[in-house]
């Protein structure tokens, strides 16, 4: 090599300069990463080591009108696992299954939850019984990815009595998550599933808190509490309802478990729902945190359909309870008044093309509207129907909102069935020559034919009869009353109608056997034909007849005759009126 000192020093200088440049470049790169992009990397490092553990907020407590608890929260335990991969979650759960019972379904459910949000701990047991929690706590050291936390659990003290309106809570499903209205929900969170829990989800939900645990690269919890300050959950405000639990429980005791029936009690003056019950009932407490498969099967295979709400979902021909609608239409049209007679007296039937029977073969003779209501004479109302004509019958029904939902603050209310118009609907259904308007009118006038109503919508109609012709929207949670004028009758006409209905629940009427001491009840029975099965029984009414404070609607599937429903309804009214008119005993 050339080893002249000049050459060497020249090369040494070159080497020093190159070295200096190289190290300057390296230092610059570190400066860029460590100083300029420090925040970004720091955030990533924090994200690496902290896992959010959600702290469920206690749901709002639901009270009845007197401050009695309908829904509250009990302490429960949720068990979760932190996992870097779905496979490690599976194997961790398999290991746990040696000490606690875990089914394959639970494993798959946990894996699904994990997939939705891998950085969150996957809930493996949403509602772990205390003995399981005790076993897990003992073995915690062996399972460092395990997170056990107390979590509020929904509880309904009167369980079966409130099932018809309160709903239940459960883990939010994938379908619910896919819905944009639930964009702020995360897998594993609880959500209201029906009833008030769903209608008032926003109010009842509260604000979830978050706690942080520190994990290592393998997802094992290294430090639990205090790794990073936590955000406490915020409990939701309580929800006050119009329900009268005393009345609600009484309704349930009246219906028992053998009847298939629906009962709704409403204050006609503001629409407050005092009681709402569908029998047979079920225990919503067993639904909370996942419905047990056998219970679900049992309820679904029960021929009495406990999960089918007979108040807001069941749709039945309103039968004779509809005659008040026909009467109101005819009176409003000025065609018939309470004292008017019809051309043809009742001899047990009426000939119009074919023979239309009255429910009473003996016949009611020559009677006026008041008597026709008391006795529920079909022949009289056939003739009222013909006088009105089909278009007025249909238009009248629409005006009475018989094609609209009542608007009660519960999810899944069924829309009643009623012709939208007097021509096209029937033409489409039966063909232009397949129907006779007169026959249709006859059927419609007595609440049969193309007419199926929910109990709650009929009850809304009766709040108008009980007051000044304004129908009140049924409301379970206290809100601003919403009353709409659906009938335009004079005060005298309204009073007259109510008196006629009072006659129904008297010795002269069809519900005479349902009378109660000391209270004048006004109402109307109905017996809906349901061939080949036994008829359904209806009763719609209110009390006291002079100044109604409660409207009660009762529907009994296969109840055979309206008075069966009437007997239940009058008892409910009596219970409510006696309790509320008695001098209040205050403990304060």
């Amino acid at each position: 090599m050339s080893y002249h000192p000049n050459d060497v020093s020249r090369r040494a200088t070159v080497a020093r300069v190159l070295l200096g440049i190289g190290f300057l470049a390296l230092t610059t790169a570190f400066f860029r990463a460590q100083v300029l992009r420090n925040q970004e990397y720091l955030a990533q490092a924090e994200q690496n080591r902290f896992r959010e553990v959600p702290l469920a907020a206690p749901r709002g407590i639901i009270y009845d009108r007197n401050g009695r608890i309908i829904a509250e929260n009990l302490p429960g335990y949720a068990v979760s696992l932190l996992s870097p991969t779905a496979d490690s979650l599976r194997s961790a759960m398999r290991r746990l299954s040696n000490i606690i019972p875990i089914t394959d379904d639970q494993v798959e459910a946990a894996v699904r939850r994990w997939r939705k949000n891998p950085t969150r701990p996957a809930v493996i047991l949403p509602d772990a019984p205390f003995d399981v929690v005790a076993v897990l706590e003992e073995r915690r050291v062996e399972n460092p990815s395990l997170i056990i936390q107390s979590t509020p659990k929904r509880y309904y003290p009167d369980g079966p009595a409130v099932a018809s309106f309160v709903g239940y809570t459960g883990e939010v499903t994938e379908r619910e998550l896919a819905d944009t209205t639930h964009s702020d929900y995360k897998p594993g969170q609880q959500i209201g599933k029906g009833g008030l829990e769903r209608s008032y989800e926003r109010e009842l939900r509260g604000k979830e808190g978050v706690r942080y645990v520190e994990v290592d690269a393998r997802g094992r919890v290294v430090r639990d509490a205090g790794a990073r300050p936590e955000q406490a959950p915020v409990a939701a405000e309580p929800l006050r309802t119009n329900i009268d639990m005393d009345l609600q429980l009484y309704v349930m005791s009246l219906l028992g478990d053998s009847l298939r029936a629906g009962v709704v009690a409403i204050d006609p003056n503001d629409g407050a729902v005092l009681a709402l019950h569908s029998a047979p009932t079920y225990d919503p407490n067993r639904f909370v945190g996942g419905i047990p498969a056998d219970y679900w099967r049992e309820l679904n295979s029960d021929p009495r359909r406990p999960l089918y709400n007979k108040v807001i979902q069941g749709r039945y021909p309103p039968a004779s309870t509809w005659k008040l609608a026909t009467s109101a239409m005819a009176m409003e049209a000025g065609l018939v008044q309470l004292d008017d007679h019809m051309p043809v007296p009742c001899t047990g039937g009426y000939r119009y093309g074919r023979y239309f029977k009255c429910w009473d073969k003996k016949g009611h003779g020559d009677i006026n509207l008041r008597r026709a209501i008391e006795q529920s004479c079909d022949v009289y109302f056939y003739q009222v129907g013909l006088k009105l004509g089909l278009s007025r019958l249909v238009a009248g029904g629409l005006k009475l909102k018989m094609r609209e939902r009542s608007g009660v603050d519960l999810p899944n209310e069924t829309q009643p069935q009623f012709p939208p118009d007097a021509q096209n609907y029937f033409n489409e259904r039966y063909g232009a020559r397949g129907w006779v308007p007169g026959s249709v009118s006859l059927n419609l006038s007595i609440g049969q034919g193309e007419n199926a109503q929910t109990l709650i919508n009929m009850a809304r109609f009766y709040t108008a009869l009980a007051t000044d012709g304004k129908a009140a929207r049924p409301e379970i949670v206290s809100r601003k009353p919403d009353r709409v004028q659906i009938m335009n009758l004079t005060e005298a006409q309204m009073v007259g109608l109510r008196l006629a209905m009072a006659g129904v629940v008297s010795s002269r009427g069809t519900a005479g056997s349902a009378r109660v001491e000391g209270i004048t009840v006004a109402g109307k029975t109905g017996t809906a034909q349901n061939p080949p099965n036994p008829d359904h029984a209806w009763f719609m009414g209110f009390a006291p007849a002079e100044k109604p404070r409660i409207v009660v609607g009762v529907f009994v599937e296969y109840g055979e005759h309206g008075y069966v429903a009437a007997r239940i309804a009058t008892k409910v009214m009596a219970r409510y009126l006696k309790a509320t008119t008695a001098p209040l005993v205050t403990t304060e």
């Binding site: 090599m1 090369r11 190289g22 460590q34 990533q44 393998r218």
Partner: protein, 414 residues
């Protein structure tokens, strides 16, 4: 012969680097879930003491003795490398490769570490014996062979990292022996062709540059033709060669270009290392307190990625300190090299410097994804007995060259 003063700054710098390094090995063991790493600093300390003794012993060996022993050491190295290929085994992350000499189930050491030293010695001997530096490619066959044989044996293990170190040593020592820069570029041209072959346009541009180089440098005609041909061939075979690479090697190169393409697996190490370093900030999270390291997010934190621990726990200040110590070491080595008594000693010093430099640049660069992951350790820092020993043997040789060199009066100057 007068008593010589040892090169105190050199020893001090190497000592400081070693203490710094062992502290980091200790810190690397301080994880939330304790593993075997927790005790490695003790082993490393023992190796440190052994290595310093070895350095002292090496410093007693005169340059003339080194000159005499070099051919034997070189042949011994080749034998050991062959033996390793025959009966070697893997360890740690490279369990499938054959880099350890295993006899009777006991891992003796990594001959590649020894090879770095002996190749430097042998290359120095070959280059020093020439009156003039090689001026044509043909004249380079001897030096190329000296590096090429062990290089091939090491690439067969396979150990890409050490292979790169050899290439670094080769070029650095050619440079120090006075080989013209343009000739170095011509030597490197096939490799550059290989890399640029992935883009036809880039390769075309490079080819024009090469033609101009050949024209102006005016090598022998045959050489020029051969060079151009080799470049054409490498440009063509590069894609074929790419196919021949093991999938994990392909992946490493691709991940180097963009770690996020495989953030969960191959790119994971680089990303986590970058996060660790970046999150350190100016002053770091404190000694032993790095969260990325404590929670095992930093891969191989006691060996290949130990510099990520420095970055995370001691911050930019700690990184700068470590880099400054290395820079000081290299500057000292350049000084020793330029003041050496004879070309042989001078070339040894520069070769040892080159070996360290490639390690530092590659290892430190890798932690920030400036270099592809090749798994080469950081001198004085990474846990490993052979490497600590080899590094201090180099220090010992440098000490000797320094003592025999000129201008030992000004100790303060670095």
């Amino acid at each position: 012969m007068t008593r010589r003063i040892p090169d105190v700054p050199l020893v001090l710098i190497a000592f400081a680097l070693s203490v710094f390094g062992i502290s980091m090995v200790y810190s690397a063991g301080q994880t939330d879930t304790m593993t075997f790493i927790a005790n490695l600093w003790k082993t490393q300390s023992v190796w440190f003491v052994v290595a310093m003794c070895a350095a002292f012993a090496a410093s007693r060996a005169s340059v003339r003795f080194l000159d005499w022993v070099t051919p034997f050491a070189y042949v011994l190295t080749l034998v050991m490398l062959l033996l390793t290929l025959a009966i070697g085994g893997g360890a740690g992350t490279a369990a499938s490769s054959k880099s350890w000499l295993v006899i009777g189930g006991v891992r003796i050491g990594q001959p590649a570490e020894l090879a770095k030293l002996t190749v430097v010695l042998m290359l120095a001997r070959v280059l020093a014996n020439r009156r003039e530096p090689p001026e044509s490619l043909l004249e380079l066959w001897h030096p190329a062979l000296v590096v090429g044989i062990p290089w091939v044996l090491i690439m067969l293990q396979p150990d890409l990292g050490t292979g790169i170190v050899f290439i670094g040593i080769f070029f650095a020592m050619l440079f120090w022996s006075g080989v013209n820069g343009r000739l170095l570029l011509l030597i490197a041209s096939p490799a550059i062709s290989l890399v640029l072959a992935f883009s036809t346009r880039l390769w075309g541009a490079w080819f024009l540059v090469l033609l101009m180089l050949v024209w102006f440098y005016r090598p022998y005609l045959l050489e020029g033709i051969a060079l151009v041909c080799i470049n054409v061939v490498t440009g063509v075979v590069a894609p074929i060669l790419w196919e021949k690479l093991a999938p994990y090697q392909q992946k490493r190169l691709l991940v180097f270009l963009d770690p996020s393409i495989d953030a969960k697996a191959s790119g994971y190490h680089v990303i986590q290392s970058q996060v660790a370093i970046g999150s350190g900030g100016w002053f770091g999270k404190g000694f032993t307190l790095g969260t990325q390291k404590r929670l095992n997010f930093v891969p191989e934190q006691q060996t290949d990625f130990i510099f990520a621990v420095v970055g995370e726990e001691l911050g930019f200040i700690g990184v700068t300190l470590a880099l400054t110590l290395f820079l000081a070491l290299f500057m000292r080595a350049i000084r020793i090299s330029s003041r050496a008594n004879d070309p042989f000693a001078s070339l040894i010093a520069f070769g040892l410097l080159a070996s360290w430099l490639v390690h530092v640049i590659e290892n430190v660069g890798m932690t920030l994804n400036l270099m592809p992951i090749t798994g080469i350790p950081l001198p004085f820092f990474s846990y490993g007995g052979s490497f600590m020993l080899a590094s201090w043997l180099s220090v010992g040789v440098l000490m000797r060259i320094s003592q025999e060199g000129r201008g030992r009066g000004d100790l303060a100057a670095i």
